[in-house]
């Protein structure tokens, strides 16, 4: 009730040479793992595994980068103040979006033969793919992806530019309110564009890996993965920054809210997962249930290669976050937070693995050094870009109208 004054100071993140060295070492380890994994692998299988794991890493980092932008957009639209102080973190994450987009396009242009069987389709052979060819054709795929990525990039640039402008306006309430409203308008545009285009991206890049199969909830499922992983990654970056002595206005209350996001959207993810599974299970139409039988569920190939991972998915992405994050104190404790973050990110790696591998590598797909190493190889540039763009500008948006609210944010005991 009483007004406590909390000082809001500008901070500047320094991307230390030591951190850079560690990241390069990590990249080296990733490459080494890929090479070790590749030794002795039969060549046809090797190409498939390499392409599939490249797609996994690229799509995962793409989701995180785009997720940063969505996080900012939704924060503006909902008038949220609890995330203002660390909003430079998702902002830095979204700087990777154009790079991730280019990487994805290069993967499609060079590796589509190994990943997307519909690109090799001979029209006479497969009437189903022929029927879908209005949507599933290379020209439309590349054209729409380029347009979508450019649109995202346009919004991301605007949001970033306005946010940086705010730093110069500390104390000038009128000017910063103007920028805030401009950001709200941009966010509104962005979220609408995102909402209509992201499903198409999910269909094209992920669902068309198994082109005979379709599921109407699939894009929402992808969105759930994006959102929960984005919140988790933001929490991880913030925890790391805090451990280095940055983000002084951020405290357990803000982590509590991030934890709530992770908790809620882990459950949302499960909701999407079970909805997809349940409807396909009930209807039992061969062209739909094929997706699950090829993942080792169902009587046809009971005990298949992916069965363990399939159920592990539910435990790691639903049961564990549910139980860990249920209590208030767990969300406020940095140690449980970091463990839960790691669990969720690894869990959704497994989730993406199950989405990609059965359709590309097939029933013999292993979880080997190639898959793990390749993910590291793709995560290092993402982390590097994020930290580099954090270091480039001020860490605290002192001119943001909600900075004061952020500093005083408190999650009451209720």
């Amino acid at each position: 009730m009483e007004h406590h004054h909390i000082e809001i100071k500008q901070e500047r993140f320094e991307f230390a040479a030591k951190t850079k060295r560690k990241l390069f070492m990590l990249l080296g380890i990733g490459l080494l793992l890929v090479i070790i994994g590749a030794i002795g692998e039969e060549s046809g299988m090797l190409t498939n595994r390499l392409w599939a794991s490249v797609l996994l890493g690229a799509y995962y980092t793409f989701l995180l980068a785009l997720g940063g932008a969505v996080f900012i957009g939704i924060a503006y639209l909902t008038n949220a103040g609890w995330n203002t102080g660390f909003k430079r973190v998702p902002e830095a994450m979204m700087q990777y979006m154009p790079i991730a987009g280019i990487i994805l396009l290069i993967i499609f242009l060079t590796g589509h033969g190994n990943l997307y069987e519909w690109t090799e389709n001979d029209a006479m052979e497969d009437p189903i793919l022929e029927g879908k060819s209005t949507f599933l054709n290379t020209t439309f795929f590349i054209g729409s992806s380029v347009i979508f990525f450019l649109a995202y990039y346009f919004f991301i640039r605007r949001l970033r530019a306005f946010s940086l402008k705010e730093d110069l306006l500390e104390g000038n309430d009128k000017a910063s309110a103007k920028i805030f409203h401009a950001c709200r308008r941009i966010s509104a545009g962005f979220i609408v564009v995102f909402g209509f285009t992201f499903p198409v991206i999910a269909w094209q890049w992920m669902m068309s890996l198994e082109p005979h199969w379709f599921s109407t909830i699939y894009s929402l499922y992808n969105f759930a993965i994006m959102w929960v992983c984005t919140a988790t990654t933001i929490a991880m970056f913030c925890l790391w920054l805090k451990s280095k002595g940055y983000l002084n206005n951020m405290n357990e209350n803000h982590f509590h809210d991030l934890g709530k996001f992770m908790f809620a959207f882990s459950i949302f993810w499960t909701y999407m997962w079970i909805s997809q599974y349940l409807l396909i299970w009930y209807a039992n139409i061969p062209e739909e249930s094929e997706y699950f039988t090829s993942r080792g569920v169902g009587t046809a190939i009971h005990g298949g290669r992916f069965e363990f991972q399939f159920w592990l998915n539910l435990i790691v992405n639903f049961a564990l976050p549910l139980l860990i994050f249920m209590s208030r104190s767990a969300k406020r404790n940095p140690r449980t937070m970091i463990v839960a973050c790691a669990i969720i990110l690894l869990g959704h790696w497994n989730d993406l693995y199950l989405m990609i591998m059965p359709g590309t590598v097939g029933q013999e797909a292993p979880v080997g050094f190639i898959e793990m190493g390749m993910t590291i190889v793709f995560f290092v540039p993402f982390i590097y870009t994020t930290l580099a763009s954090l270091a480039k500008h001020n860490l605290i948006p002192v001119g943001h109208p909600y900075m004061e609210e952020f500093a005083h944010h408190e999650v009451a005991v209720a």
Binding site: M1, E2, I274, Y277, L278, W281, Y282, N284, T299, M326, S327, R328, E410, A412, V413
Partner: protein, 181 residues
Amino acid sequence: MKPTKFIAGVFDDPVLITRAARKLRESGVRVYDAYTPFSVHGLDKEIGIKHTRLGIAAFLFGCTGFCLALWMQSYMSWSDWPMDVGGKPNTFVVPTYVPVCFESTVLCTALLTIFTFWIKSKMFHGVVPDLFDNRQTSDLFILAIDSDSHKNHSAIEGLLKEQGALEVRHKEFGKNHTLIQ
């Protein structure tokens, strides 16, 4: 034994009662509870009230509801009278159980938690609550201190007055009073 005799500081300002609660606790007085017309932010911390364990109860109720539904469905459609639904395998079919389990979890948690809350806070139909002042539900803020466990009554009174209490009252309730912590 729950206390029956109280010293009550009567305030008309949420800021004053919050400050008074802090001052009392700083000088070693244990505040029994505060009664306010609306929830005063920060007051819960200042009177040092313990975190409710209702959440743990709710979790257990949820588990009960989940297990009940799981047992009910598997008993009815699998073990007691095996159902043939479109020729699907009839074993312990988890996916079909999910919606009912979910609903039952929510129902049990919600109902049992609210019943527990009512019982614990003695909110039954027809019970006349014990109040320090009728206006504590409209515009007065009351800070209650258990007077049996403190000896320095005059000091407490002085402190309350000093912190802006309109008046300080001594109030005694019957053994079965409805005040709970």
